[in-house]
């Protein structure tokens, strides 16, 4: 396993540890933000175990992927709610 991975978060290059979830990468590089709610509020993971759907992000072009149940892969593109 390599020492680090490179992922692209909203187009930004982020270097992360190899064995972390996308939710963890978002906590490190996006203040935890995953999606915007229907009324535009920023959200972050709630249940951490694939139930609440708050951590939905777009991964490699596929929408509605759960950041808490997806592990970072080298070269992965993640689109999540932007920082203010």
């Amino acid at each position: 396993m390599p020492d680090t991975l490179t992922i692209y978060l909203n187009g930004r290059t982020c270097v992360v540890a190899p064995d972390i979830s996308v939710a963890a990468a978002l906590a490190l590089h996006n203040d935890g933000r995953t999606r915007l709610s229907l009324s535009g509020q920023p959200r972050a993971p709630l249940c951490g175990m694939g139930v609440c759907q708050e951590c939905r992000v777009e991964i490699d072009g596929r929408p509605h992927q759960l950041a808490c149940q997806t592990w970072c892969r080298d070269g992965m593109h993640v689109t999540a709610a932007q920082l203010p």
């Binding site: 939710a23 935890g32 229907l38 920023p42 993971p45 709630l46 249940c47 509605h64 759960l66 149940q69």
Partner: protein
């Protein structure tokens, strides 16, 4: 889509599912072990059974690795129960859907947390208690962060200990139950020496963290993320600055798949007989789905279900009787838990009119108040009609308004259209 045949399908690769697979494996049947997570272990052994300190996890994993009749399918979510004993599976990473046909089915789908809404609970930085524990096992960075753990149940101590091991500054653990309730929990615990030992070990990890009974979170605040919480500690209100709030009010069995298959659900849990068979012959449940009892009970129930579903109860009669006795002992602990961590009524009065109750559809408390039941609220406000399908707000409105949620609909989780039409 041509179904793949298995004699036994086990849904969930946590302690109960792993124990079931290990017990059933020796009968030589073709077994599929399905889990939506990328690693085995469920929540308590999250990140892979092989990587746990608990030797039972490593032993079970080694046993499964050595069995060539178990087909382990991680990253696979059951999205529908189809007619004729078939399950529709979707690959979590976007791969093709598949159909499994089973003769016997064991559902070990575990539990989720009960969340009670309070002002500010949707802010980034507020999560479940078990939720933050699960996240931090996935590398969620907590080193040097100020964390308050709140809610109810023995899980809070385990969460606080895990977070501290990962470098978090856990300043407070707030348990809503009063000392009188908790005192009544401690003494009968002498009947479960293993649980006492666990509690004592946790205590050592928690030196420097203040444990407050009779205490709960009133509200969370912050501009773009959590900055401060307002709490009541032993009757006195105060503010605490923190980076994370991990708040959960106990566990709820995940019964959706079992309900979709027509299994009877009593009081939120799957009804099972002494060998973990549900009201539908050939369908078994093990672990938290049949009542919250922790890992020790889950392992016993899993093993019993595995033996029963692979027709080994007669051949291993003495061992099965022993397991049944352990099961009764574990169930008594489960009842003790439920009694001593009963929720205080103040927790149901925390919502302000604009507090969101349904987080998927952003439905505030005030919009729900005029409704008489779940169905009316759903039709008029879209409460419960979002991506989580009411798994979070269904339990919240059951507590707040006494509504009972309708049974699970197919698909059981957000599903790609292609998976449904192929």
């Amino acid at each position: 889509m041509k179904p793949v045949d298995y004699q036994l399908v086990i849904v969930g690769a946590g302690p109960a599912g792993l124990a079931a697979a290990a017990a059933a494996a020796s009968a030589g049947q073709a077994i599929a072990l399905v889990d939506d997570n990328p690693h085995s272990g469920g929540q308590i052994w999250r990140g892979g059974a092989a990587r746990q300190d608990d030797p039972r996890a490593r032993a079970l994993w080694a046993q499964l690795q050595a069995s060539n009749n178990i087909h382990y399918l991680p990253g696979s979510r059951v999205v529908a129960a189809l007619p004729q004993q078939q399950l529709l599976l979707e690959a979590v990473d976007g791969g093709a859907a598949s159909v499994l046909h089973y003769q016997k089915l064991i559902i070990a789908s575990g539990a989720r947390e009960l969340f009670l809404p309070f002002p500010g609970w949707t802010l980034p930085g507020v999560s479940g208690a078990g939720g933050l524990q699960a996240l931090c096992k996935g590398g969620f960075p907590l080193a040097g962060k100020r964390v308050v753990v709140a809610g109810s149940g023995p899980l809070l101590l385990a969460v606080a200990a895990t977070l501290r091991q990962r470098g978090a500054l856990v300043t407070h653990v707030l348990e809503q139950a009063g000392w009188r309730q908790l005192g009544g929990f401690g003494l009968p615990l002498l009947r479960w020496p293993a649980k006492l030992r666990q509690a004592w070990q946790l205590r050592r990890h928690l030196a420097g963290t203040r444990y407050h009974a009779d205490s709960y979170v009133l509200a969370a605040s912050g501009t773009t993320r959590l900055q401060q919480i307002s709490v009541r500690i032993g009757g006195r209100q105060q503010q605490i600055e923190c980076d994370y709030l991990a708040c959960g009010y106990g566990l709820l069995p995940n019964t959706e798949l079992a309900a979709a298959l027509g299994c009877s659900i009593d009081d939120g849990k799957l009804r099972v007989d002494q060998h973990q068979q549900s009201s539908v012959p050939g369908i078994y449940g093990a672990g938290e789905i049949s009542g919250i009892g922790g890992v020790d009970l889950a392992l016993v129930e899993g093993e019993l279900a595995g033996l029963a579903a692979s027709a080994q109860l007669d051949r291993q009669a003495a061992h099965a009787r022993q397991l049944c006795a352990q099961r009764r002992h574990g169930l008594a602990f489960s009842r003790l838990l439920a009694r001593h961590f009963a929720l205080r009524p103040e927790l149901l009065r925390l919502c302000q009119p604009d507090t969101l109750v349904c987080r998927c559809e952003d439905v505030p408390y005030a919009a729900l108040q005029p409704h008489v039941d779940w169905r009316s609220a759903k039709l008029h406000t879209r409460c419960g009609m979002g991506a989580c399908q009411g798994r979070i707000c269904g339990a919240a409105t059951a507590a707040l308004f006494g509504w009972s949620k309708d049974t699970a609909r197919i698909p059981l989780a957000p599903t790609r259209i292609a998976s449904l039409i192929d």
